[in-house]
């Protein structure tokens, strides 16, 4: 009847790819406002009543909070773990106090099953729709509202049942509901009335009445055969059950035949079937190692910082427990849950690092913001190994936080960064110079060939780093530079003061060496070719930070000296150091 509808509403957080890269809502996305323009605008209220206020979708495994509000299991678990309060009324609550709400499941399923048809009819055949549907509006919405009250007493349930039976009765006297409700009421009356009079108690199994002290011995041989066979139901039905079957009958279809009650789609399961729920941990009492161990036991990924671990564990507990809440038929495998966890991680701020994040973000249009997450991504997932000490220092400032504000940080510390860049550049120049001298002292052309091959490697890397600086974006590479600063003793105002001289020296030496070595000298670059990237690097940096007064001036000077681009030596000395500029 409405395959599209139920598919759309059913998957809650799971299905994911619904958005599929579209930046605009799909036309089939259902919403309560669909009914506003129909013959029965009142259905809008019903339709929004069976939706979770957090995800705005039909309830997936609805759970009741202590304050009697209903949400999808996953939604309320996430909200509680973030906030500890009911999203609706802000009353404090705990995930462990959540209770299933099967009645609401039935209402949702029933409504989802016929929504499309109702929508179709209400939109077109006004009169018919009015007759066929109004009953649902009144009754089911009524149930739903009352359901919100929470604990139900017996008399309430009866009242509800009577209420529901009367209205359909007006139009359709031999409706299934009428039969059902009266049946159960008779039964109840028969069983409960004599209770106070006779001083006896009923056997909890067969219902036979006897002296209190005889009950236990009777129970040993009781075969469970009910004493009376007044109704089809052998044991006494609880108020809740009565209520539920009434709901089912109504929700399933007004046209259901008498005595042909639909089997309850989601009968409460035996407790033994329940998979065990995981409890949240006291994260601040656990060391990172302990937490990792626990997570390994659960079989979930253990990489990342402690904060990442905590977030991941919390989400896993939510996913897992929400899955436990679901009906057995709808429960998902651990593999699927792990997949969900990965998807979730990909959607978090910081993008979950290059590989994981990129793929999962498919549903979202990547905008300027996602670029801002760069730092967080690096911090959480990148190879945090080499910078252990720096990273630890950065921890305190929150740099390692997954949702760290890289732009803000870069802006706030711009002065410091540009100082660092400057000094790093200076030390590199010094190194260049030293190198040059050394080369000088060696005989020309005797340099090993490997030099030429190493030449190309570090360059693109450096260029990337420079461009990042330009965009005011901070990176681990930049933060790493204090090492460079420590080794630097020159005055920061004129970083290239001594250098001009050095450059001249270099220049003259190169000239001399090329005279000697001729074209065979491996140090002579292929004209403009090799010098190009280096120039762009400096040009970027010069524009990027206004605090380096001399760098822009140096640009042209550098351009004239292709020699500068040549030796990649300094980088060679520093295998494994990811910040090429931090060389001393």
């Amino acid at each position: 009847m409405s395959a599209g509808m139920s598919g759309e509403g059913g998957d809650g957080g799971g299905g994911g790819g619904g958005g599929g890269g579209a930046s605009h809502p799909q036309p089939h996305l259902s919403d309560p406002t669909d009914f506003l323009s129909t013959a029965i605008p009142g259905l809008t209220r019903l339709d929004s009543a069976v939706r979770c206020e957090v995800c705005k979708d039909f309830f997936t495994t609805p759970m009741l909070t202590s304050c009697a509000h209903a949400f999808c299991s996953l939604c309320i678990r996430r909200a509680l773990s973030a906030d500890g309060r009911c999203p609706k009324c802000r009353a404090p609550d705990q995930a462990s106090k959540l209770r299933r709400c099967d009645a609401l499941v039935a209402v949702v399923e029933g409504w989802k099953g016929c929504r499309a048809e109702v929508l179709g009819r209400a939109g077109t055949e006004e009169v018919e729709a009015r007759r066929g549907v109004k009953r649902k509006v009144g009754d089911v919405a009524g149930e739903e509202d009352r359901e919100g009250v929470g604990r139900r007493t017996r008399s309430q349930a009866k009242k509800t049942a009577v209420g529901t039976m009367e209205r359909p009765g007006e139009k359709d006297p031999d409706n299934a509901v009428v039969d059902l409700v009266q049946d159960t009421e008779d039964e109840d009356d028969g069983e409960y009335r004599p209770e106070p009079d006779d001083g006896l108690v009923g056997c909890p199994v067969c219902g036979k009445r006897m002296k209190e002290e005889l009950v236990f011995s009777h129970l040993d041989r009781c075969d469970g055969e009910p004493e009376r066979h007044k109704s089809a139901q052998p044991t006494k039905r609880t108020a809740g059950q009565q209520f539920r079957s009434a709901t089912t009958a109504i929700a399933s279809k007004p046209s259901s035949h008498p005595h042909h009650l639909p089997a309850r789609p989601s009968m409460p399961r035996a407790p033994s079937e329940d998979p065990t729920r995981i409890s949240q941990l006291q994260y601040n009492l656990l060391s990172e190692t302990q937490l990792r161990k626990k997570m390994r036991e659960l079989g979930i990924p253990v990489h990342g910082t402690k904060q990442t671990l905590v977030r991941r564990h919390t989400e896993w507990v939510n996913l897992w427990n929400a899955n436990c809440d679901a009906d057995a038929a709808r429960r998902r495998s651990k593999r699927e849950l792990l997949n969900d966890l990965r998807t979730w991680e990909g959607c978090q701020d910081g993008g979950g690092g290059g590989s994981g994040g990129g793929r999962q973000n498919g549903g979202l249009v990547v905008g300027p913001i996602s670029a801002g997450g760069g730092v967080g991504a690096n911090a959480g997932y990148g190879s945090a190994g080499p910078q252990a000490t720096t990273a630890a220092a950065m921890m305190a400032s929150g740099v390692m936080k997954k949702d760290f504000d890289g732009r803000g940080w870069a802006r706030a510390n711009r002065d410091q960064f540009s100082d660092l860049i400057e000094s790093a550049r200076r030390t590199r120049d010094k190194a260049l110079e030293k190198r040059e001298k050394r080369t000088e002292s060696m005989s020309d052309g005797s340099t090993p060939n490997a030099e030429g091959s190493g030449d190309h490697k570090p360059r693109p890397r450096e260029e990337v780093g420079a461009q990042r600086n330009n965009g005011e974006e901070m990176d681990l590479d930049d933060v790493d530079q204090p090492e460079g600063q420590q080794s630097n003793q020159q005055s920061p105002s004129k970083p290239y003061a001594g250098n001009d001289h050095a450059l001249n020296v270099i220049k003259s030496k190169v000239a001399a060496s090329s005279e000697v070595g001729g074209a065979s000298d491996p140090y002579v670059p292929p004209a403009g070719d090799g010098g190009e990237p280096q120039e762009t690097v400096f040009a970027h940096i010069g524009r990027g930070d206004s605090n380096v007064p001399s760098s822009a001036d140096d640009g042209p000077t550098l351009k004239k000296k292709p020699m500068f681009a040549l030796p990649a030596e300094p980088f060679q000395d520093t295998d494994g150091d990811p910040a090429p500029t931090a060389v001393q």
Partner: protein
């Protein structure tokens, strides 16, 4: 996934019906939206002006609040209000982690801000506005506001 879906639904609803004084400007993606709001009840402070709001959604929306700021451009000033800094940052508990609840949405935030402006009679900025605006490099979500005024 959850963000995109939830925002799609909000957008459908907004397209269907926008409350008076609220206009959708741009909802190109599910990370940043622009909305315009007007104060309709003739409060002399805000008469005839339109204010532009920028919503930035994190990956955890709606569990976490969106980042909402006023944006200033040629036609859209920043409204005068004792809780709105002149760089557009809004000090409202609703937008803070503590005051936020996942049942809020873009529409309800817009309406709250509308009513916050409607009820205002003071033509002033928050104390220490100049200083704050000059110094602040943080995102609104990283600022720890102190909510003291219950009259708004």
């Amino acid at each position: 996934m959850l963000v995109a879906k939830r925002l799609q639904k909000e957008l459908v609803k907004l397209n269907e019906h926008t409350p008076p004084g609220i206009t959708i400007v741009s909802t190109e993606n599910f990370q940043e939206w622009l909305m315009d709001i007007e104060v309709l009840d003739g409060n002399p402070l805000y008469q005839g002006e339109k204010y532009r709001l920028k919503f930035v959604f994190s990956g955890s929306y709606p569990i976490e609040p969106p980042e909402v700021t006023f944006v200033k451009d040629a036609t859209h000033p920043i409204p005068m209000h004792p809780h709105i800094y002149s760089n557009g940052i809004i000090c409202l508990d609703l937008l803070d982690r503590q005051g936020w609840s996942p049942v809020h949405n873009v529409e309800s935030v817009c309406m709250s801000l509308q009513s916050m402006l409607t009820g205002n009679t003071k033509n002033e900025r928050p104390p220490g506005d100049d200083d704050f605006v000059r110094r602040n490099t943080q995102r609104p979500r990283d600022i720890s506001f102190l909510f003291h005024d219950n009259s708004v």
